[in-house]
């Protein structure tokens, strides 16, 4: 019998329809992954099942049957009794979904006692039993800690344990791995597998990460624009997708590739020599970047990979003198960039430009795209006549694959992808030799990301531009870059041609990154 059955459900917020005719079913002990791009309605499905008033979701038609109960006809009070008992939720960010200043033990006891009439000792036994089944050793230390004293991964595992302690029949997990780094992601994936094995609980897993879904899910549902476009066994759907959207989605997911494009050695464009950047935190100094050296040739693409906080962005800001390193030198062309006086910086900016992570916030919200690009052309290319500038802007928009009319819109009126293309248009306004892309595709969906990567490739080809591409996604970098640098805690742990780094990684951390990204050869959307 299905634990959860959704039939022809349509739902939305304030009269706007978000979900259309959703039908799903989950059997006991089964993990169903709901996969799709942001805005496809994945989380709305979970909110509809929970039916919390505060989530403002209104189910307009269809049925939600959970364990024999028709959820939509239950009274609020009856529903509340089910939540936490038979139906539990795990949220995206573990550190914010638990009370930050209460010990884990108190939070567990509170949960158990609100559902069951047991003594403290009995409750503790339940908790430890649950920890044991989930492979959480060191239960005493965890119970005596507050959430902020645990790592993100450990915290999420504890949150899953908290959901499991009442032995529910169904867990709703909303992007449980998205806020975690690669290593913790692996731990949570292992834990989800243990859940299935030891508890026989059903899990509805919402994720945008196909690798995670593929590893843990029995069934998979692909969502697009509020509809389920494909639903079936994970192996079948991912192996032989029938729907066009699924096919394009899978094709755009970057895969670990060891191949490398052929390129002749050219002259060096950028040379960085043992760069050190320190920040003061209270009384002590923290190395954000410590002793990084590398070279970049003309027309070469260098990928810099690492987790958040590894110093990638700080390094990027040094390279273009948005910040000055404490030690070390950076040479672009023949000149050390520290030698540029403030007034000569324009000269540096005509050689090197940067594209930022968040495309919308990299444009002034109160200016049109045209007027932002205009500043770049005026100052860097030295063109003053306005019709000449307009011509140039239109040419740039066409170059990055956008309609020229979009230039007259405000950043918030464009989609993320269009906005990032405009940002690239602004960056290449004066034909720089070096383009630094700081997580330029991280805020974008996988199909949009593929388009941006293609655009960057074509720029390298046509303008012989060099690119430094910073990303946390080693799979994306592997197929796109000539050389890869892996960073951890401000240090470079591995650096070399991408085929070598991917095929024969020497560093343990690089191996973990590759392992996490290459679960059956797929990576995150």
């Amino acid at each position: 019998m299905s634990i959860l059955k959704i039939e022809n459900m349509s739902a939305g917020y304030w009269g706007t329809k978000v979900l259309q005719n959703i039908s799903l079913s989950i059997e006991q002990g089964e993990i169903l992954a709901l996969v799709g791009e942001s805005g496809s309605g994945k989380s709305t499905v979970i909110k509809s099942v929970m039916g919390l008033k505060s989530s403002h979701v209104k189910v307009s038609s269809g049925k939600i049957i959970f364990n024999g109960n028709d959820m939509l006809s239950l009274k609020q009070e009856e529903r509340r009794r089910l939540l936490g008992n038979d139906l539990c939720t795990v949220f995206q960010n573990p550190q914010t979904s638990m009370n930050p200043i209460r010990k884990i033990k108190k939070q567990f006891l509170e949960t158990i006692k609100s559902h069951k009439d047991v003594s403290d000792a009995e409750a503790l036994r339940l908790i430890k039993d649950c920890f044991y089944k989930l492979g959480l050793s060191d239960a005493d230390r965890i119970l005596e800690s507050c959430p902020f004293e645990l790592s993100g991964g450990m915290c999420q595992r504890v949150a899953i344990a908290l959901a499991m302690v009442m032995e529910p029949k169904l867990i709703l997990a909303d992007e449980p791995t998205s806020a975690l780094d690669v290593v913790s992601q692996l731990q949570v994936v292992e834990e989800l597998l243990l859940l299935k094995k030891n508890f026989k609980v059903a899990v509805l897993l919402v994720t945008h990460n196909i690798a995670v879904a593929e590893k843990v899910a029995d069934k998979i549902a692909i969502m697009h624009a509020g509809k389920i476009v494909e639903f079936g066994d994970t192996g079948v759907v991912l192996g032989q997708p029938k729907n066009d959207y699924t096919k394009s989605l899978l094709a755009d997911v970057p895969r670990i590739e060891a191949g490398q494009r052929e390129r002749e050695k050219t002259e060096t464009l950028l040379e960085a020599n043992s760069i050190i950047k320190q920040y003061k935190v209270g009384d002590r100094k923290v190395d954000a970047v410590s002793g990084i050296s590398f070279e970049l040739e003309k027309g070469e693409i260098l990928g810099i990979v690492g987790e958040s906080g590894s110093g990638k962005s700080t390094l990027a800001r040094q390279l273009i003198r948005l910040e000055t390193p404490n030690e070390g030198s950076i040479r672009i062309g023949t000149k050390n960039i520290a030698d540029y006086k403030k007034k000569e910086l324009l000269c540096l900016y005509t050689k090197a430009q940067m594209v930022f992570q968040n495309p919308v916030s990299s444009f002034d919200p109160r200016k049109t795209i045209r007027s932002s690009i205009k500043d770049a052309i005026k100052n860097l290319a030295g063109i003053r006549q306005s019709d000449e500038i307009d011509k140039r802007i239109n040419a740039l928009m066409i170059r990055v694959g956008l309609n020229t009319e979009l230039a007259d819109r405000y950043p918030f009126q464009l989609s993320g992808g269009q906005c990032q293309r405009s940002a690239i248009a602004r960056a290449i306004a004066c034909d720089p030799q070096l383009l630094i892309c700081d997580e330029a595709t991280s805020a974008l969906d996988v199909t949009v990301q593929a388009g941006i990567v293609e655009l960057l490739r074509s720029l390298v080809k046509s303008n012989n531009m060099s690119i430094i591409f910073i990303s946390h996604d080693i799979a994306l970098v592997s197929g796109f870059c000539d050389r890869i640098m892996v960073m951890k805690n401000g240090k470079c742990v591995e650096y070399g041609p991408s085929s070598k780094v991917i095929k024969a990684p020497e560093n343990e951390y690089t191996k973990t990154l590759i392992k996490a990204a290459s679960i059956k050869g797929e990576s995150s959307i």
Binding site: Y349, P365, D375
Partner: protein, 276 residues
């Protein structure tokens, strides 16, 4: 729906504020009598057809003096707010943008000024400089630029870390261009809203100084000094106190509500922008 309702209030208060300014401009023409003409025979007279709001302790027409006082009160407040807002904002923006030692020094000076109650400080300064409208403005302006500097500085500090400011720098914009073309219009709405609500406060400040005899020189009409002069006859001729006080209360209220409506309107626009 909500937005139109808010806009309606904004337009109502804007119209009222403009009407007040207009009345103060044509006060001379519409005043029924000469505001400074005294008449010992008609001291403390009750409202009548000739003196619609009665007369004061020197037999002057209260309505004419309230109208004449509008010009002094409203214009001096508007001018002072404009000067302090521009000065304070520029200082705050420069401090926020460049930070460093100068920022530290200026901010400590501002802390020092703000440590005193604003009115006490104004009374002290006016006491040193002596009476008169110009000196009253200097006295009030001495402290009232500081909140603008604080506000502008904090807004600039949060905005200058945004990616679009870095991007503007990389587009070759100079510091001056970044400050004028990118930062100013992003912090303008919060400064404008704050300045509007300050109009009422400054007006009360002027009235307070005039009440203490540190404001306008007699016989020039000003609401604060009118209340001060007439308070001796509160029992026999309450209209001489009541009407300038009412004028003051309504004007302060209108400018305060205008500031609130402006803030709501600008907030809504930002919200809807974000949603789109």
């Amino acid at each position: 729906m909500k937005k139109t309702k808010k806009s309606v209030w904004l337009y109502i208060f804007l119209a009222l504020a403009l009407a007040l300014i207009l009345i103060s401009l044509i006060a001379k023409e519409i005043a029924p009598n000469d505001p400074n003409a005294t008449n010992v025979l008609r001291v403390g007279e009750a409202p009548s057809a000739k003196f619609p709001l009665g007369t004061d302790s020197l037999g002057r027409c209260v309505l004419s003096r309230v109208l004449a006082g509008a010009k002094t009160s409203i214009f001096s407040a508007l001018v002072l707010v404009l000067i302090t807002a521009v000065f304070g904002s520029v200082v705050g923006m420069l401090c926020g943008y460049y930070s460093g030692i100068a920022d530290g020094i200026v901010m400590r000076i501002i802390d020092g000024i703000m440590a005193f109650p604003q009115m006490i400080l104004a009374i002290a300064v006016a006491g040193v400089l002596g009476g008169g409208m110009l000196n009253a403005m200097i006295a009030l302006g001495f402290a009232s630029w500081t909140p603008y500097a604080r506000l502008a500085r904090s807004r600039v500090i949060s905005i200058k870390r945004e990616e679009f400011i870095s991007a503007a720098g990389l587009s070759g914009c100079s510091d001056f261009e970044i400050l004028t073309k990118y930062i100013t219009h992003n912090i303008f709405s919060s400064l404008l809203t704050f300045a509007t609500t300050q109009v009422g406060t400054v007006m009360l400040g002027f009235a307070g100084l005039s009440f203490l005899g540190l404001g306008v020189k007699l016989p020039q009409a000003e609401w604060g000094s009118m209340i001060s002069e007439a308070r001796g006859m509160l029992a026999t001729a309450p209209w001489a106190v009541l009407y300038p006080a009412l004028a003051l209360v309504f004007t302060v209220m209108i400018f305060n509500y205008l500031g609130d409506a402006l803030r709501d309107r600008l907030d809504v626009r930002l919200e809807s922008e974000a949603k789109r």
